[in-house]
Symmetry: C2
Subunit: 223 residues, 2 copies
Amino acid sequence: MPEKVKCEMRSWENVYQVSRKLAEKIKRSGYQPDIIIGLARGGWVPARNLCDFLGVKDLVSLKMEHWGVTATPDGEAKVKFPIKLNLSGKNVLVVDDCSDTGKSLVEAKKYVEKLRPKQARTATMQIFDTTPKEGIPDFYVEKIPWIWVIYPWNMTEDLINLVSKLLGKRGKMHIDHIRKGLEEEFEVSIDAKFLKEIMLESERRNKAMRIGDEEDHWISVVE
Amino acid sequence: MPEKVKCEMRSWENVYQVSRKLAEKIKRSGYQPDIIIGLARGGWVPARNLCDFLGVKDLVSLKMEHWGVTATPDGEAKVKFPIKLNLSGKNVLVVDDCSDTGKSLVEAKKYVEKLRPKQARTATMQIFDTTPKEGIPDFYVEKIPWIWVIYPWNMTEDLINLVSKLLGKRGKMHIDHIRKGLEEEFEVSIDAKFLKEIMLESERRNKAMRIGDEEDHWISVVE
């Protein structure tokens, strides 16, 4: 997550409808995958939805290592948990939530193509104005100005990261100011009760710490 | 899916809240997983949610073969897409949507334990009154009378299966009667527009076929 960032929260219903539209595009193209590969962790929910919409039973996960192709001695894309896959004669669909730099998607497709499937295609729900040409998937639904999309399955982690940024910058903060800071700096509105839960979980993960008993002041914990 | 079956649809919001409660139970127990294993395909969404709630980065997928332990020559649990996993020193959490017979969960845990993790635990959102003792996960939220839970990520597939059952029993049916049949036999209410989409998708998958042009009559396609 970059330093300065405009965020947009997506609901479960939104994600479901966007995955449905993605499935419609894929169907209209005539492409019928035999197997769907969901990139961990962001691609899991759209990948699972596409299985349902497209009638695909085989669903596997792939986690690309982010240092990528150039950093490995043999120039191969690296995956974190290698999986034994026989893709011969199969139509493959590689799915992620969005394509930002496109790196994961490009590497995943390279990796898959070495396994000699019949065909391989890529799909995401969103791409950005800034997504480089090679990172644009074969199928996508929305092309939007760059923002940080907060998907519902990553809300806790994203909010903890945003709060850490605020605390890191300003030092000690009262929870009300954290809430205001989230709105002002990241355009993220959450209610007080939920923010309290996030702060407690952030404390459990040793990323923030509550100081004092009576007042709800928090500081960041340097990792 | 059994022949006669009472169904219950769950919303995305419901699944999210139940996964959150599941995470709370796990946190209260003091168990902190280092890696989450989501069983394909049903366990993917709760597994992804638990990663977020519990702060777990490593997420992998496992697909158990259903003929299971006894059917393999060497008595080992079989997985469909074998994955290279180093679990030594790690706390593992195996996640599925629900535990019905408990077979997948039990086999997955056996498979994981052969890889000698530090600890392995299991978690599902629901179990049933009928779930055998050995199939009860370490963590679950709801214990309910046996029903077929229609999760939102499997709605298309489940509805196509239910419609196939109706058509198989009664032969030619008008779409309005299919809708009534879903209500009467499975306690599933869906609106006419959505049912039409399901029928068209069912036709695309060669499971049902529309007959005649003017009236919306459908028959099942014998596979």
